[in-house]
């Protein structure tokens, strides 16, 4: 064996191990003191600055695990009673509803719930909405005259929309929208609409970002998405973005990103403080100024780029009914969308 040869490989491996150990110690170095663990389905881009601010102001350490909302919820279910999580932040009401049904969330105090309009929280009080997301039609203004856009999403199944529309059937927000359709219009109407849209060769995308890119490139003319992606993308871009949002006049579904406290939380009082902080005016302003969502606490105006919530004809829907996902999934499978 050539010693030098074996040494250079050893050196690389040893360096990696040392780096790793430094990193391990670094992570383990977190001081003591009060702390909570948050499982967040919201990505770091959408909330970390707020959490940093909370830590600075209160001295409470917040350990955040980021992941996809549904995967986080599945993880919490799998962890069972031993879950280290105190708070679950979700991107949609469906996942919160699923945890509430599995009896994993603890009821929140009434004064905390009252900060938010009743339609944006769980009636049993197990979760509360933090920010609102409107379901809109995003479109390419060069290819569609805004006046030609329908007042109801249902109208997208008219023949002249054939092959021009995109949606994301695997996406939780789309599934919530279909649930809303089922609840408000009835199961059969929802099925007819989905079948019609599918027959019209509506394109299925993996997620909202992919739809936006497809509309921007002219691959499709319109897509069903949440409203804020457009603004997030526009802020990142230096040039003008050839996309606009259309809020159907006949009714907009406003879904929420929300939070709940786990029944097994080790520090429920700190978790409570954390939720109150997220419903505080500065946090609500952050949601609307930085992530372009709707603030849900009364008296806080949404970002000026957004049409005010009260101007929107919102669908009359109890968001808790959105947790009836199973029938929605079965419906989507029946019409071969999933």
């Amino acid at each position: 064996m050539n010693l030098i040869r074996s040494h250079s490989l050893l050196a690389v491996v040893a360096l990696l191990v040392v780096l790793a150990l430094i990193r391990v110690i670094w992570i383990g170095r977190d001081g003591t003191g009060p702390s909570i663990t948050v499982y967040s389905g919201r990505t770091a881009d959408l909330i970390q600055p707020l959490i940093d601010q909370f830590e600075r102001e209160t001295g409470i350490r917040v350990q955040v695990r980021y992941g996809q909302t549904a995967e986080m919820a599945a993880t919490i279910l799998e962890e069972g009673r031993r879950s280290p999580a105190d708070v679950f932040l979700a991107q949609d009401a469906g996942a919160l509803g699923a945890l509430a049904r599995a009896d994993r969330l603890t009821p929140l105090p009434a004064d905390l719930l009252d900060l938010v309009e009743a339609r944006f929280r769980s009636p049993a009080g197990q979760w509360v909405g933090l920010s609102g997301r409107a379901r809109v039609i995003t479109y390419h203004p060069d290819r569609i005259d805004p006046s030609a856009l329908p007042d109801h999403l249902q109208a997208l199944c008219e023949p002249h929309w054939q092959g021009r529309v995109g949606w994301a059937p695997m996406n939780a927000s789309f599934q919530a929208f279909v649930t809303a359709l089922r609840v408000t219009e009835g199961h059969d109407a929802a099925r007819d609409w989905l079948t019609c849209m599918a027959r019209q060769r509506t394109r299925s995308y993996a997620n909202n970002s992919a739809i936006l890119m497809a509309v921007a490139s002219g691959e499709i003319d319109a897509g069903l998405v949440n409203h804020y992606y457009l603004h997030a993308l526009a802020r990142e871009r230096t040039g003008a973005l050839p996309i606009r949002n259309h809020y159907p006049a006949g009714g907009v579904l406003v879904n929420v990103a929300g939070a709940g406290i786990l029944r097994t939380a080790s520090a429920p009082d700190l978790a409570d403080r954390f939720l109150r902080y997220l419903l505080d005016e500065s946090a609500q302003r952050y949601f609307t100024d930085r992530t372009f969502e709707y603030p849900l606490v009364r008296g806080i105006a949404p970002n000026e780029v957004l049409p005010p919530l009260h101007d929107l004809q919102t669908t009359d829907l109890d968001l808790n009914q959105l947790d009836d996902l199973e029938r929605t999934l079965r419906l989507l499978q029946d019409v071969h969308l999933l």
Partner: protein, 559 residues
């Protein structure tokens, strides 16, 4: 560094140099696996450590069985609805085609960059292997942006009046993306195989009147069979377990259905049933692989030429060969890099991003480095057992180790959540758990290479060491492992590069507050903050390129 050599064993299927011991429990009939020692003599420590690793790798299956058992009456409706059959066939079709094309490309590239006089071979070696580091969701996004409807290519072609391209979505796109991002598995495996070959074999064939091509086909290729099959197996299982590419490219594969059950209704039982079907599919692939693997001897039986292979002159084929390499690098690496570069240009807040990126890079490198060392260590007992003492048990252990590789990451991650928090809560959400997940997911990457290399090492050397009084263990550490070096390196490289891009297990099992390059890229693309995904994506490629360079250099020194 070369030990024994020469007298050629041209892929004979017969040569049994020693009578095999009686097979008391002979499983599949012909041709019986060769035995070099009585199976009764498998050292206990070897048997136990191999068994331990194999059982660890079965944890996800145990989890699936436990969850699947809760399903109740829905079982039949899930198993026998038309959709299940359709996605099953879709996945089979995709796996077969991707494996075939990736294998062809991988073998050709390995041969070009190892055995021919292709100009700048090391440069091409690194570049052509690099696509392996791209997370498939990034690659797929990039392909859509360039080759998709109204993408960059169509804009270029519109000058010549081309208004519509064949659709990138569906089978074609998924096949293209997965082929482009998996062929390096075959290439890296075959490289190691080619380097272990004795050049005198091909020379003998040529001196006996064979043309270059025919010598390659008749002599080299059969000897590479274990390496090729090992690489192809990895491609097949990657394709089966991939979610990113098939979902973005809108191909209805098995993993998509599994994700729907997890993410939609959080229906873990239905997801488990589908995942168990995937296990069945994986077992089928493993059986096929076992048949194709070949049972010949691949090592030299006596001392011979310890020298470098003469590169084969490409002649008039040099330009087409360069164009082929160039085209592949452009498609598999150039396009994703151009697209991410374009994202980066649009980024305003880059200073902040950069500072944060240093920590993230350190996280990624440290986790992937530890995981690759752990994978190689865990793979060693299995490989030595399976190659040196092949018996019914070793064959099943090998299969166990591969099963989790065919499962989507989320399944393995949730399985470890389930077992981790119940039985080793002290390790839950620590590095140990994450590394364990990586080992279970990626041990086959180390295993395939080690196995192919070990098969090229004559057991006579080990026997000589034993006869000279060394124990089995010191023979392993002083003779076998040093000789295994090319395979060890290739294994380390593969695991390292693959861990760097792993997403679901990293998200679910990593220590809390542990962003890596892959999780950063994912969270940015998820919210359409593409510019923020660019820096980590480019760093991922850069770090991987450096490690690839180190490893290829080591590999060249070794031979």
């Amino acid at each position: 560094m070369f030990i024994s050599c020469s007298a050629v064993d041209m892929g004979t299927r017969s040569a049994t140099t020693r009578s095999a011991p009686v097979q008391a429990f002979a499983s599949p009939p012909p041709p019986a696996p060769r035995r070099f020692r009585d199976p009764g003599q498998v050292p206990l420590w070897l048997r136990l450590s191999a068994l331990f690793v194999a059982l660890l790798c079965l944890l996800p299956v145990l989890y699936l069985v436990l969850r699947g058992a809760e399903i109740g009456s829905d079982l039949w409706s899930i198993l026998f609805r038309g959709r299940t059959a359709r996605i099953f066939l879709n996945s089979v079709l995709l796996t077969l085609t991707v494996t075939a094309s990736a294998t062809a490309i991988g073998v050709l590239l390995a041969w070009l960059t190892v055995r021919t006089d292709l100009p700048h071979r090391r440069f091409w070696s690194i570049l052509t292997c690099l696509p392996i580091v791209l997370p498939s969701y990034v690659g797929a996004f990039a392909l859509i942006a360039t080759l998709g409807p109204n993408g960059a290519l169509q804009h270029l072609l519109s000058v010549w009046g081309v208004t519509q391209l064949p659709s990138i979505y569906g089978f074609f796109g998924a096949w293209l993306a997965l082929t482009l991002f998996t062929y390096p598995y075959v290439q890296l495996s075959v490289r190691a195989g080619l380097r272990g070959l004795d050049p005198s074999m091909e020379e003998a064939a040529r001196s006996l009147g064979r043309s270059n091509l025919s010598a390659f086909r008749r002599v080299t290729l059969p000897h590479l069979q274990p390496a090729i099959v090992a690489g192809a197996l990895l491609v097949a299982l990657y394709t089966l377990s991939d979610f990113g590419a098939v979902s973005l490219l809108q191909f209805d594969a098995f993993t998509r259905a599994i994700y729907v059950h997890y993410t939609g209704a959080l229906d873990r039982s239905a997801a488990a049933i589908l995942a168990l079907l995937l296990v069945v599919l994986t077992l089928g692939i493993l059986t096929m692989e076992y048949r194709l693997r070949g049972r010949s001897r691949y090592y030299r039986v006596s001392a011979g030429a310890a020298r470098r292979q003469q590169p084969m002159p490409l002649g008039v084929w040099k330009v087409p060969a360069l164009m082929f390499c160039g085209l592949l690098v452009f498609l598999a690496l150039g396009i994703p890099l151009l697209v991410t570069g374009y994202w980066l240009i649009q980024d305003g807040a880059s200073v902040n991003v950069l500072r944060e990126t240093v920590t993230i890079t350190l996280n990624s490198v440290a986790a992937a480095g530890l995981a690759s060392a752990a994978c190689v260590l865990a793979a060693l007992p299995i490989v030595v057992y399976a190659v040196r003492f092949p018996d019914r048990h070793s064959r099943w252990m090998e299969r166990c180790v591969y099963i989790a590789h065919g499962l989507p990451g989320i399944v393995v991650a949730l399985a470890l959540v389930f077992f981790g928090i119940r039985f080793v809560p002290a390790l839950y959400q620590t590095w140990a758990m994450l590394i364990l997940a990586y080992v279970i997911l990626f041990i086959p990457l180390a295993l395939g290479n080690l196995r192919a290399t070990l098969m090229q090492i004559s057991p006579r050397i080990e026997e000589a060491s034993r006869m000279l009084g060394k124990s089995a263990r010191s023979t392993l550490s002083q003779i076998t492992v040093p000789l295994l070096r090319p395979g060890l390196l290739a294994g380390l490289a593969l695991v390292f590069l693959t861990c760097m891009k792993e997403l679901p297990a990293t998200l679910i099992l990593g220590p809390t507050g542990f962003p890596t390059l892959a999780t950063r890229i994912w969270s940015a693309t998820e919210e359409a903050y593409f510019a923020r995904a660019a820096a980590p994506a480019l760093i991922l490629v850069a770090v991987s390129a450096i490690s690839m360079w180190i490893i290829l250099r080591q590999e060249e020194r070794v031979s």
